[in-house]
Structures are given as structure tokens and as C-alpha cells.
Symmetry: C2
Subunit: 795 residues, 2 copies
């Protein structure tokens, strides 16, 4: 008994041929789309781009998914891992009418088909990878490795959705993809949808073989069974046979998914009693293109990876070969004379609301419900006077986040992502409202773990980032809390997300989605106990190069300002928000009202910390009546502590020096062109026009060097920050090692001021230098019986 009737088989095959024809057409033709004329070199694009090799496989899967969707009224989100195969995805969108729905000029007729072809991979046309311009997509096809993790993120809290995720055998070699299979242990069939991985093994990458291609079916079965999947193999190079096998496999996979969901949702089982299905599709690379070119194998070889017949425009032989290839699909049987779909093909187009190109989750902003947020001032730390109370910033924000979970429990649209560090990052108050998520077997010794938990902990920054991206892009909310040093593991994922987001801002039909929020803690300055490997503020550098209208970087100096910033970020859309704040109990500076005001301004004068008023005529409305001798500026909680201590030291030991203290909470307020940039006059009011600025910064000093470039008299900005010095030591020694201690700041302030070289100034400097020496001697002394180790640093 066959799964497919002869008619269905014919229908699938025709649809597939149509899609393949359109894919090849996009790569080669800029006119004569229906091949009404004999092919001439004038019809060939001047530059041939696009990746053919993966297209037939993508087309095969997409075509068969249409059948599945129509048959089952299934809600399927398509994720194209081999996103270089945009010609396939675009062909499918065109056939089903989604392309025209978003780009009405590209009509489903001859003119539209010519336009489809012409705009593929031409300047400002449709890129050769799937991008934010591609309807129905949440997944960029450029940097490989993230398809499967995106698919999982997309179906979390989306119980009715199946993400059909095609994974190339090249992509499968990446670290991110290899880790992504583990996601199945975090998928709860009761509340989440399903992911159907379709591993497409076509054997070759751009110029070499793939590892998976050289593994036997038995090895592959063994591997994926171990990972928790039941692989269904679809192998062949006879299209009719493959249609039958693939349709059967997809039907089976769909039944498996429904069965698992029923076991959990209706029968009340706590865990699935069977493995999740996946498809292993072994079909030739570049399938249906010419078998040979100039004596070398093309179809089924890496030579069909990109443009299989590269010189068709110039070489008559190749042009003929191309024509025979294109005509092998028999376009007249697929499209009418006017370029409309033949009825056989039209009948495989799902109804509009089920078309994969129209899936609302792929334009997640449509579905976004704003978060219900508590009043953050309810969680404020009481502050009588600055610098008295101690509190842990993340601990307080953890309480706020617990209520974010509670308030949004009905909507099931908020998750916290964290590489096993929620407690270590002192955010554990959230565990009063929810738990860690794990859907595998639990032990009695487990703490705060359940299948319904909303804290996604896994020791993989890649999975945290990828799940979160998938979750966001389908319109939900979240926060990624991470050790600062290890967030750079996903530098490149953040970069690609920023690129996606930039396009979203520019594509009119892409609706805003919630911002991507990072809370970086356990930061560089307080990893003295964990040592040098844990000390790295480099993520700022990766983020800051992105477009100004996309990025926001906050360095809240205390608990109340972290609350204010977090509350703000959770309400924003289409940004990447980076928040950096410590987890250790620290001195508090601002009441919640002051924090709100300060965060609003981005950077402001902390009058109480300086001594302008005492020395001069004071400050009114954040505007000094006269100029301080020096501006001590800080951004970041540890730099703030050191700066305030430096100001205090100076008040005490060199009272004649008029010191202003400025805190920068919104880093981009320093920039010139950022939307949050201080206007020229505001900048001058805060930093003066010419007075020396001693700047203590959380990250690498170079960040500030760049930001102030173009501001008045930049040579007066003397920046101290992380100078890539560290080891296992004390928190104070960390700031000493990096020349950012209170003493360093105070000395630099004096040296750069008009008072430099006066007797009082020299006395103060001598005192501060002695203090530094005492500190260093103390540490040295305590190490003096282990010279080989101790000396490596003092040499």
C-alpha cells in the first residue's frame, strides 16, 4: 500500500519541478523566464550568484510540508538551515503566493516571474541567503549553526506550532548545531510546540565532503537515538521513490508528534514514552542539475554547491547545457502561457492562513503582547544618604524579576536564559516564582527544576542565545543573564542578530519585537577569586560597533539604578540592550527617585560626591556656575566606587581642588551620533569644555577614547579601565593592577589639574603613592615565601 496516490505523487513531483525551475531561473536568468525564446547569452545574468546545491533538497522538503499542512491543517514554521539556498525558499514563497503578498510587484505571472528572477542576488534585490527580507523566516542563512536552536526557541510556549527545521550536513558540523540537539531535553510537550529536524545529508560542503555523509545509517541511527530522536531515513535519487518514502516518513513523524503531545496533554503522562521523530534525508547534492560538466561530475558532487554551470553566459557549450537543464523541468507543463501556475501545482498551495510564508510567528511582532510589569520602585533599596547602605544589585532585581514571572504567568511569554548561573548571579529570587526547566527524568536531590520551569539553564551560551533569539523573533520576551566574561562566546551570534534587527528596522512589514536584553554580571572587576580567565569586559566592544539605533549599553552604578534600567529595557522593542551590574553587596548611592532621574539623563553630575559647591559658587539645575578644576567621571559600579573614594580622598587631602564627579549610566550618552547622545551643550555642561576629565571605566579604555572622539578637546580625557591585567587576587588589587584604584584616580586628577606641582598637591600625591606602595608590599610580603609564583607578576 502506498502513502501517495498516483495523482498526489504527480502533484508533488510537478510542484517540486516548478520550484527547482524557479530556483535555477533565479540564479541564471534576468529575462525570458518562461523560456519562450531559445536561451541566449543575453538572457543570462552578468554575475551568477546563489547556491544551487542545497536547493533541490529544500524544495523537496517544503513541497512535501505543503502536503502535510493541507492534509492536517498543521501550523508549520519553516526554518531553512542551509539559508544559502534562498533561491529555493524564494521559489516556494513565489509558488504559494506569499512572495507577492509581501512584495506585490512580484506578481504570479510572466512579468512577476521575470522580476523574481531579476531581483535575486542583484544589488538591493533579494539576497542569496535567507534574511529578514524573506517572508516566513526567522533565521538568517549566512552564518551557519543556529537553525535548530532557533527552531526550539520559536516553539517554546507555542503549543500549536511545529517548526520544520532543515539542517544541512555542513551546518551540522558546527559547535552550535551539535549542541542544539540537546534542546529536546527542555521541550515540554504540554506547553511547547514541536520541532521536526530534517537533516539533509547531500554529501558535500563548498568543496569538501561532510562528516555525516560518510557515516552509515547504523551510525546515524545510533547517534540520534542516543540524543533522543527517532530518525526516519529518506534515501534515494529516484524522485518518484523518494516522494513516496518522504511522504511516508513525514506522515509518520507527524503522527509521532501528535502521539507524544496526546500522551502528555490528554493522557496526563509526565514524559513522552517515545523518542521525538526526525528525518534523515539522503539525496544528491544539486539533484536534477546536469550530471556532468566538461568531464567532471556535477550532480551529486561539491561542484554543484554554488553555480553548477559557471560560464553559461560566455560559453556556448555551457549555455546549451544550461538550456537543456532548464527545459528538463518542462516549464510549459508547470506554468501557463501567461506565467500562472498550472492547476496541478496550484492545488498544492495551502490556504493562506496556513502558508509557511505567511506564518504569523515569523513576523513575531504581530503576536507580541507587552509585558505586565510591576512598579519597580516597589523593590527599591531604601537610601538615606549615599554610600551608607549596602545591597546586591542583582539580588534586588531578582525580586523584581520574580514578579515579572508572576505577572506574566497567564500569558506564558517571558523566560530567563542563563548558563547554569542564576543562583551564582544572585538572581535566585526568581525561583520563588518559577523553576529551572528540564523535561528529562528528575531526582529527589534536584532543586528548583521542573518541566514547567521558565528559567532556561544549560551550560551553553550558544543555546541560551539561540533559544532566546527564536523566542524573541516569534514575539515573546526574555532576559539573558550571564557571566560577563563568557558572553563573548556568542559575540558572533549577537552580531548576526544585530544585522537581522537592522534590516527589521528597514523592512516595512516587519513589526517591532521585544528587545534582546543582556544582564551581564559576575563581571570583570569582581572575579578576583575566579582569576584571569573570568575577567573580560570585551562584549561592550562587540556591541558598540553596531548601528546606533539598535544598541543601548547601560552601566547602572547601584541596585536602584539597575532596577530602573531593567524596567526600562523590558518595555523597549527592536534594541539590543546590554546591562552590566555587579552581584556583590556594595555601597548604594541613589534613591529610586534619583536613580530614575539619573537614568533618564544618561550621565549627570553627582553633586554630593564632589566639592564644587564648597569651593566655588555651586551647581544649579545640573549646571555649574563656575568650573571645577577636574572632572572625575565613572561608568560602572566598581569604577563608581573608586571614583567616589578618590573624590573623598581629594576633599580630605587637597581641599583646594574643586572636583566634580560625573556618573555615566547610559554609555551611549557620550557618543556623538547616538539617539541617546548628549547634545553639545549638555555635554559641555556636564564635562565642561576644557577641564581635565579623569575617567574610570568598567571596560577597555579604548571604548571611551572612541566615544569622545570629536567632542571638544579630547586629549583632556584620561581614561582608566580594564587593562587586561588580572589574576587570583583581591577586589581592590584588581583596580590597582589596572591603575584604576582611588589612589591612581586621585593622583591623575591632581597631575592634570592647575594645582599640580604645588606643595599641597605634591604632599597629597606622595601620600597616595605611599598608600599604593603599602598595598603592594602587603600582598608581596604575604607571597614572599613562594618567589617563583609571586614574582611572575612583580617582575
Amino acid at each position: 500500500m502506498y502513502t501517495l496516490s498516483p495523482n498526489e505523487s504527480e502533484q508533488l513531483h510537478a510542484y517540486w519541478r516548478a520550484a527547482n525551475y524557479l530556483s535555477a531561473g533565479q540564479i541564471y536568468l534576468h529575462t525570458n523566464a518562461l523560456l519562450k525564446e531559445p536561451l541566449k547569452s543575453a538572457h543570462i545574468k552578468p554575475r551568477l550568484l546563489g547556491h544551487w546545491g542545497t536547493c533541490p533538497g529544500l524544495n523537496l522538503v517544503y513541497t512535501h510540508l505543503n502536503r502535510l499542512i493541507i492534509k492536517n491543517k498543521a501550523s508549520v514554521l519553516f526554518v531553512a538551515g542551509p539559508g544559502h539556498g534562498a533561491p529555493a525558499v524564494l521559489s516556494q514563497l513565489y509558488l504559494e503566493g506569499s512572495y507577492s503578498a509581501f512584495y506585490p510587484q512580484v506578481t504570479q505571472d510572466e512579468a512577476g516571474m521575470n522580476l523574481l528572477f531579476r531581483q535575486f542576488s542583484t544589488p538591493y534585490g533579494m539576497p542569496s541567503h535567507v534574511t529578514a527580507l524573506t517572508p516566513g523566516s526567522i533565521h538568517e542563512g549566512g552564518e551557519l549553526g543556529y537553525s535548530l536552536v532557533h527552531a526550539f526557541g520559536a516553539v517554546f510556549d507555542n503549543p500549536d506550532v511545529i517548526a520544520a527545521c532543515v539542517i544541512g550536513d555542513g551546518e551540522a558540523e558546527t559547535g552550535a548545531l551539535a549542541a542544539s540537539w540537546q534542546s529536546i531535553h527542555f521541550l515540554n510537550p504540554a506547553r511547547d510546540g514541536a520541532v521536526l529536524p530534517i537533516l539533509h545529508i547531500n554529501g558535500y560542503k563548498i568543496s569538501s565532503l561532510t562528516i555525516l555523509a560518510r557515516m552509515s545509517d547504523a551510525e546515524i541511527t545510533s547517534l540520534f537515538s542516543g540524543l533522543g530522536y527517532q530518525p526516519y531515513f529518506v534515501t534515494g535519487d529516484d524522485a518518484v521513490e523518494v516522494h513516496e518514502i518522504l511522504a511516508t516518513a513525514l506522515d509518520q513523524a507527524y503522527r509521532d508528534i501528535k502521539h507524544i503531545q496526546q500522551q502528555i496533554r490528554q493522557e496526563g503522562l509526565s514524559r513522552p514514552q517515545m523518542a521525538w521523530p526526525m528525518i534523515v534525508l539522503r539525496t544528491p547534492k544539486g539533484w536534477t542539475c546536469p550530471e556532468m560538466l566538461e568531464g567532471k561530475q556535477l550532480e551529486g558532487s561539491f561542484r554543484s554547491h554554488q553555480v553548477p554551470i559557471p560560464d553559461a553566459g560566455e560559453n556556448e557549450e555551457q549555455l546549451k547545457l544550461l538550456e537543456s537543464w532548464l527545459r528538463s523541468y518542462d516549464p510549459a507543463s508547470l506554468f501557463t502561457d501567461t506565467g500562472h501556475l498550472q492547476p496541478l501545482i496550484q492545488s498544492l498551495v495551502p490556504p493562506s492562513e496556513l502558508k509557511m510564508g505567511m506564518h504569523p510567528a515569523a513576523n513575531g511582532g504581530i503576536l507580541t503582547k507587552p509585558l505586565q510589569l510591576p512598579e519597580y520602585s516597589d523593590y527599591a533599596v531604601e537610601i538615606d544618604k549615599p554610600g551608607i547602605t549596602k545591597a546586591g544589585a542583582t539580588k534586588e532585581t531578582g525580586k523584581y524579576l520574580a514578579d515579572v514571572f508572576r505577572f506574566n504567568d497567564p500569558a506564558q511569554n517571558f523566560r530567563l536564559f542563563c548558563p547554569d548561573e542564576t543562583s551564582s548571579n544572585k538572581l535566585n529570587a526568581v525561583f520563588e516564582a518559577t523553576e529551572r526547566c528540564f523535561t528529562g527524568p528528575l531526582d529527589k536531590g534536584d532543586d528548583k527544576v521542573s518541566a514547567t520551569g521558565r528559567v532556561m539553564e544549560v551550560l551553553s551560551e550558544h543555546l541560551c542565545q539561540g533559544w532566546y533569539e527564536g523566542y524573541l523573533l516569534t514575539g515573546r520576551h526574555g532576559l539573558f543573564a550571564c557571566y560577563e566574561a563568557f558572553i563573548t562566546i556568542i559575540d558572533s551570534m549577537m552580531t548576526q542578530y544585530a544585522k537581522w534587527l537592522k534590516l527589521c528596522h528597514e523592512v516595512s512589514w516587519r513589526r517591532p519585537i521585544p528587545s534582546l536584553n543582556y544582564l551581564l554580571t559576575s563581571h570583570a572587576w569582581r572575579q578576583d577569586h575566579n582569576g584571569y580567565s573570568h575577567q573580560g569586559p570585551g562584549f561592550i566592544d562587540a556591541v558598540i560597533s553596531k548601528k546606533n539605533h539598535i544598541i543601548r549599553i547601560y552601566l547602572p552604578p547601584d541596585a536602584n539604578s539597575l532596577l530602573a534600567v531593567t524596567h526600562h529595557c523590558l518595555q523597549t522593542t527592536n534594541y539590543i540592550n546590554v546591562i552590566i551590574a555587579g552581584k556583590q553587596p556594595s555601597l548604594q548611592w541613589l534613591t529610586v527617585e534619583d536613580a530614575a532621574r539619573h537614568c533618564e539623563q544618561g550621565a549627570s553630575i553627582w553633586e554630593w560626591a564632589g566639592n564644587e559647591k564648597q569651593n566655588e559658587e555651586g551647581i544649579e539645575n545640573n549646571q555649574a556656575v563656575s568650573l571645577p578644576h577636574v572632572v572625575l567621571t565613572c561608568a560602572g559600579d566598581v569604577p563608581t566606587l573608586e571614583t567616589i573614594a578618590a573624590a573623598w580622598l581629594l576633599r580630605k587631602h587637597l581641599p583646594a581642588l574643586a572636583v566634580r564627579v560625573v556618573n555615566v549610566v547610559d554609555l551611549m550618552s557620550l557618543a556623538i551620533t547616538h539617539p541617546h547622545a548628549l547634545e553639545e551643550d549638555a555635554f559641555a555642561r556636564v564635562f565642561t569644555e576644557e577641564q581635565p576629565v579623569v575617567f574610570a571605566f568598567h571596560g577597555y579604555p579604548r571604548v571611551i577614547h572612541d566615544l569622545v572622539h570629536g567632542r571638544p578637546s579630547t586629549s583632556r580625557f584620561h581614561v582608566r579601565g580594564y587593562a587586561e591585567e588580572g589574576t587570583t587576587t583581591t577586589p581592590f588589587d584588581m583596580v590597582v593592577l589596572n591603575s584604576m584604584s582611588r589612589y591612581h584616580l586621585a593622583i591623575k586628577a591632581i597631575r592634570e589639574s592647575v594645582l599640580n606641582d604645588t606643595t599641597e598637591a605634591n604632599n597629597a600625591i606622595a601620600l597616595f603613592e605611599r598608600k599604593l606602595q603599602e598595598h603592594t608590599s602587603y600582598i608581596k610580603e604575604h607571597m614572599d615565601d613562594m618567589p617563583e609564583i609571586a614574582n611572575w607578576h612583580w617582575s
Copy 2:
């Protein structure tokens, strides 16, 4: 029949107890190391640091490896994935005497033991993670995920070495680790050593369960069999039993390895006929620490991950519990009254040359043989005049690299690492000298692949980087060629490597190793066809924040300068060299002699490209006799082209403007404190003191803003570079989009010069603006029938 005699079992158990005792001692005690006195809170360190949870497992493995080493005279390199477990590694080094060999103050007696304890995790002491300070180690324990890939890199071309690699079940969740299992398909038993993965499943991470812990033995067997390994399970919590099972498993694994090697080396089989062995060790987390603390489970739970009894210093109950724990190892039975090893323990110490802590490969500089390098000038492109000849920089360097392979074939100490892009990056000349490496089954369609190939292609930047690090750290040479945009995938690995390298510079016994060389090509400016996702110069930003004495960044403007730079980098040690150069055929500028001179200087005036001489009194010895009106500066091949074109346009259309052209090949020559920094006067000779500089840069402009901070009159530096604008377009449009085109540069040069606002100047500007408009109109016009897509960019 037992594997272990009763005496061996006793010996192993005693050794293990001794190591565990020392591990706990390091965490808790700063004196009273032998517990001769009753434990008092005064003996407890003021701050308790270190990760106990993984120590018993590491100690167990290390102890048993000693037995294996003695029995077989095996050369074993130990890689500790759970590097947080430094107390265990350090205990082992201490027991075997390697610690004292490198740090003679830490004697193997009571005083030395006290010192061992005291210096653990105290300021400037031994960090709580394995670092470059740890003898016998090539692997930092801070950022998890790279142990297995390092192990493979270390044994490539090291046929006699077995890397025993302990992998934690936390680390196993990371992307890099998940991908690393695939390395087995690149290991050639004929020429490479072996890796023995020891997967330690102790069940918990810092505060949650691990995925692997909840998988059944059957699932784990299935998973790893699929990956190509034969897992041997060692499960238990009865030490005597576990010793027997582990010893048996290790013996079996060793036999398997020898058997595979014999099959290939003696019997001439082309591929192993059996799977590679691995150990799966399932023992309790924190094994042998107290079972319970204050009613909660400790041993076997995440609560033993770090410091199991956290308040032993303050809490009397906890102190007692700690004392009974420490005494449970019966230190008097392990150490003599003077703190020397009891004979039973001493007998399990391998001979010096086989001690894992003394393994020469772990201090690879000892073994390094310098590369035999060809004369690079033999590969030079002939240049008659600048700007006439076209050549592809990487193509020419590929020929040079082919000879590097040939020259060093006898030494078998050079490899090229590349994510499947060697041909795409136009380095394919190397395939005339070697092939891609793959040790799995080959097909007739495969091109340039063999088990003896030295080009390591896999679609994982993590594997390329990790293999290369392991290969370097054991004293060999290499080059990592990569698409520029995707090298940021390993930002954090490079950062950790830079940290390791910084320590190597400071630890006297660490011998210099060959530099880590990146050749980044297919770069941001010529990925116009691949689109926005492929356009990212951010790796410079990640590298440049590292210590000045470690990093070198080169932007050779043409083929001959790429040859010169590559040749130089391959001879250096202990650096991270980043070379960025295009692969497309481009205009050539420098003869090989000029290139050599230019690279030597770092930045120099290209007299022929400017028109100072014509206008003023000329340049002698790279020193202008008088000042140009404007300095056009460029770094990077595309910026060089645009700058030279801008200078040409200015000469033609505004000849009165005295233009100097400066090219920067060594980026760090711009810095102030870098060893390659131009001295103040040299900087002034090249860039003048005050004339405007229009700087076209390959990367983000912020890099230059930072580098020139502190140089004279920085506000005159007007930098154009990658402004995060891109799409599928033309190469020239890329520079237009980012305002770095020849016209932009020429206009800016005029605007910033003294000639601004003269009639001639205004005419020239008008002309250039018209040219830009024409370009933009042309592209717009060709897109005007697809407004929705085209307009997203022009809006």
C-alpha cells in the same frame, strides 16, 4: 580474575586518598597541613575558594593513569576539562614531585605542604583553575568547552602520545565540546597519537543537574557509538569496586588504542576496524566529602560543587564536620611525620620522564623546531609601476604556503586550519603540496582529500581554533585561514588564548611557542555578493584590546606585502598575528623590495601616489620638506584602492591641493605604547603635526579613534571605515554605502583643507558629488520596478 592485585588496589586507594586529602587541604587550610594539631578555626583560610566537586573524579583518573603509565611506559598528556578542579591537578603534581620541580619552594615535606595549601587560590598564588602556571598543562580551566579539541590538536603529528582528556558533564553541554567528538574523523593512527576521552558524569553543575546524568547507559552507548567511540562504563560509589572497574577499563582502552595503531602502523590497514575507546565515569559529585550538611545532601549533590562546608571558619559544628572529613583520609597513613610520602604512595609515582606533570609537550616550546621557510621573494608578483598589474593576494601566498608544506614535510610540524574554505579563499595552490585531511571513508568524487592531508577543513571555527591551539601549545606551527566575518565565532577562544599567552610571557619556565597566525580573507568589503551577514570586520576589535606585547595586526595592501607579512609571522613566537587581505584579483602597488621596506616601517608615505613633490619641495628619506595640505591615509586593501583613486581624482581635478598618501600595513604602528608604535617624531614625519588626515580604514572607524587618542591634534583624524552598512550589491557600492568611496574621501579631503570654499574646490566637490549621485541613481534606476525591496535602503 581481578585486574588489580590486593596490593595494587590498596596502593591506588591510598594514592587517591592522599590526593583527595591534599585537594581538600588546599581549599581549607593555611596551616596545620598534616593535622598534627586538632583543627581550629585559626587554621582555616579567611576566604574559601576552589571547586571540590570535580576533584575526587580528577584524582581518581590521574591516579589510575599513573598505574597505566608505569605499567606500559606510556607517554600520557593529561588534559583536565573540569579545570576548576585545580586542587586535584595540583595535588597530583605535588604527589608526583612535578610541582616541586617547577616551584622548588614547594617541597615534598611538611613545610612544602603548608605552602602548597597556603598559596592555593590566594592572591598571586596558584589560581583555582588550571592555568599556564600549572605544570603539565596546555589547557585553561576557566572557559569550558575546549578540552577535547585541545587534546586532539596536541596529538596530531605526535604518534607516541596519548592525551587523556577528562571532560566534565557540564562542559559536555557546550557547543565546542559537542562538536569536538567529530575530531576522531581527522585522526590518523599512522601519524597521530591517540585521545582517550574520559567523560566524567558526576551529575551536577554549579547548581543544577546535567543532561548526560539523566541519560541511561543505553542512550549514552548509542550516542557515542554513533560518534565513533566504544564507551567503557565505570560506575559506582564503592571505591574498591570502582578501582577495579576503572583499572580494567583503562587497560582495555589502552589495548584498544595499541591495537588500532598496530592495525594501521604494522598491518597496513587503511582504517581502524574498531571504534576508539572512551571511558564513561559515573561517580558521585564531591565523592568522599561528608554526606550531609545541616540536613541537606552534600556528597552526590550540587552542594558539593564548590566549597562543601562553607562556614567551617566561623561555625563550630561545621569545623568539626570538616575535621572529621579531613581525618577520614587518615593523613598519617599517607604522609610521614615530616610530611614525606609514605612508601606505598611513592611507589605509584611514575619515573620522572613519564610524569604527566613533566610531559614535554605541555611546555611545547621545548620541542619546537623552527619552520624551514622558502625565500618569499621567489613568489613575488612582478611590478613595473604601481597600479597596473592585477593579482590575487591570497592566491600568490598560497603558492608560498605550498612550499612551506613541502619544506617542512620531513618535520611533519605544519598544518593549515580552515573551515572548508581553502579553495574559496584562493589558497588552493597548497593542494599541490598536500591535501585535506579526513580519515573516514572516501568516495571517488572526493577531491584532494586523504588521511595524510595536512589541511584541516571542518565546518567549525571552534574545531579549527581548538585544534590549532592544541597543536601550537605542543610546539608545532600553523595558520588559520578564515572568512573574516566568521572568525568572530571564536572571539572568546582567542581571548582565552591571549590570556594564556600573557601568562606564558611571565612564567619563566614556559618556553616560547610559535605564534598563532590568522589569515582573514573573503573580507568585509568584498562580500558584496554574499550579503550583509558576511560583512563583518569585528575581529580586529576583539584582538586589539589584548596586551600590546602579544598582538600584531597587519593589513597588507597587496600581494607582495601579504607575502612579506606572512613570511614574517611564521617566524615569530608567542604572538597572536592577525593578517587581513583580500582574495580577489586587485591592482598591485609594491615591488617585493618596496613591500619589505614598507612592512618593516609599519606605515609609510607612498610618494608616487600623492603630489607633494609637484606642489612643494618634495620628500626626502620619508620626510617631507614642507607640509601637505592633507594626508590621505589608508589601512587595508580596499581602503588603499579608494585612497589612491581619491588622490588621483584630486590631482586631476584640484591640482593645487598638496596631497600626501600614507599607507598603514602594521596597524599597531599607530598606537602609542605598542612595541611597533611609531615614535613621536616618526609619527609626526608621516602624519605631520597638525594637517588634516582623512583615514580610510578596513574595519570600524572606532579602532582608529582609539589608536590615535593621545597623538597630537586628534580631532584632525577623520576616519571612514565599515559603518555596518551592507547588502547584496557591488564592491564599489559597498564603499559608497559606508561613505568610504574615492569620492567621499576626496570631498572630505577638500573640505578639511585650506583650499575649502575656493571656486576650484567647490567645482571639484560638485563633480565628485555628481559622480556619487550618478552611481546611486544607476543602482536605484535598475531597481525601480521593485520599490518595496529597493526602497528599504533609500528611505
